[in-house]
Symmetry: C2
């Protein structure tokens, strides 16, 4: 690929909604097609970039601010960037969109009950027991996107369908070759 077009796919949604699973699936397919890809999530950036941050609104916003800086630089250099972060605050996401420019918001929608039932990391149980503070959806707000480019409904769709939606969007809008 000589002239790959940079963009950031921004996966937002509750903990356990399936953001990273979809991002990984899309990443695999983009790599298969020979594209330059970087995937960022909390686990990836924590060590080098955000180790000092907790889960208050201020810290969550700082977390996203740092990730935004990285995604912006990669995007303007022709990389496909896949970010999956709860990123619960609408205003911070809007700022990220303005800063990155080529920004595609993917709302990974899944009812809280379903996320809590999955409870992949055992965090909901702790949050309901009051053992974790500032837990999005339980003791902290989640502000859903108002006009996301893509909505994945992971309680109803299979992973392949959700990833397929994202890839179809990228093809239809000329971000990646068909």
């Amino acid at each position: 690929m000589c002239d790959q077009r940079g963009f950031t796919l921004w996966f937002t949604g509750l903990s356990g909604s399936g953001k990273t699973a979809i991002a990984k699936q899309v990443e695999r397919e983009l790599r298969r097609r020979g594209l330059k890809v970087e995937r960022l999530d909390g686990d990836i950036v924590r060590q080098a970039l955000t180790r000092d941050l907790g889960f208050t609104k201020e810290d969550r916003d700082k977390n996203i601010e740092r990730v935004t800086f990285v995604a912006k630089l990669l995007t303007r250099n022709g990389v496909a960037v896949l970010c999956s972060f709860i990123s619960p605050y609408r205003e911070r996401r809007a700022k990220t969109r303005r800063e990155i420019g080529t920004f595609i918001e993917v709302y990974v929608e899944c009812p809280l009950e379903v996320c809590a039932q999955r409870d992949v990391k055992g965090l909901y149980a702790k949050a309901f027991a009051g053992e974790i503070e500032n837990f999005t959806g339980v003791s902290d707000p989640y502000e859903p996107p108002e006009n996301p480019e893509i909505v994945c409904r992971t309680a109803e769709e299979r992973l392949e369908e959700s990833a397929g939606k994202v890839l179809a969007y990228l093809e239809e809008h000329g971000y990646i070759p068909v």
Copy 2:
């Protein structure tokens, strides 16, 4: 450029040694040649990435740790990255070299007296007056590189000569087309 090779040029040296001046000159020339370039320095990363950090050894190392993460991602995606940071600690620079891989250390060497005489930002006067703590070269150590790929001696060379050395190195080692 279809197949630009990513690398990080790491300019280290005292405050006022001329790191950023050389980096800007090299940046201009690389852009003129149509290459993808990102330049990072304290002013550029402070707002989004390192606003919370001061000048203790711990904070300086954290600063470089975050910048290293960004430079690593850009480098492996084919970008020419130009970093100018005092980065006084040898061990932290060695770690950055290992993490980035394609890493070219440029020691911007200039005697402390000359840097202090230039005193572009008025910081040396304050440091000598004891108004600034942890000032590299005055009240904090600077550990010079032992085996830098390139040495620029800015007390003796003109800016064009220093930048020319860097460009010649990049050409000779196949990082950029001649």
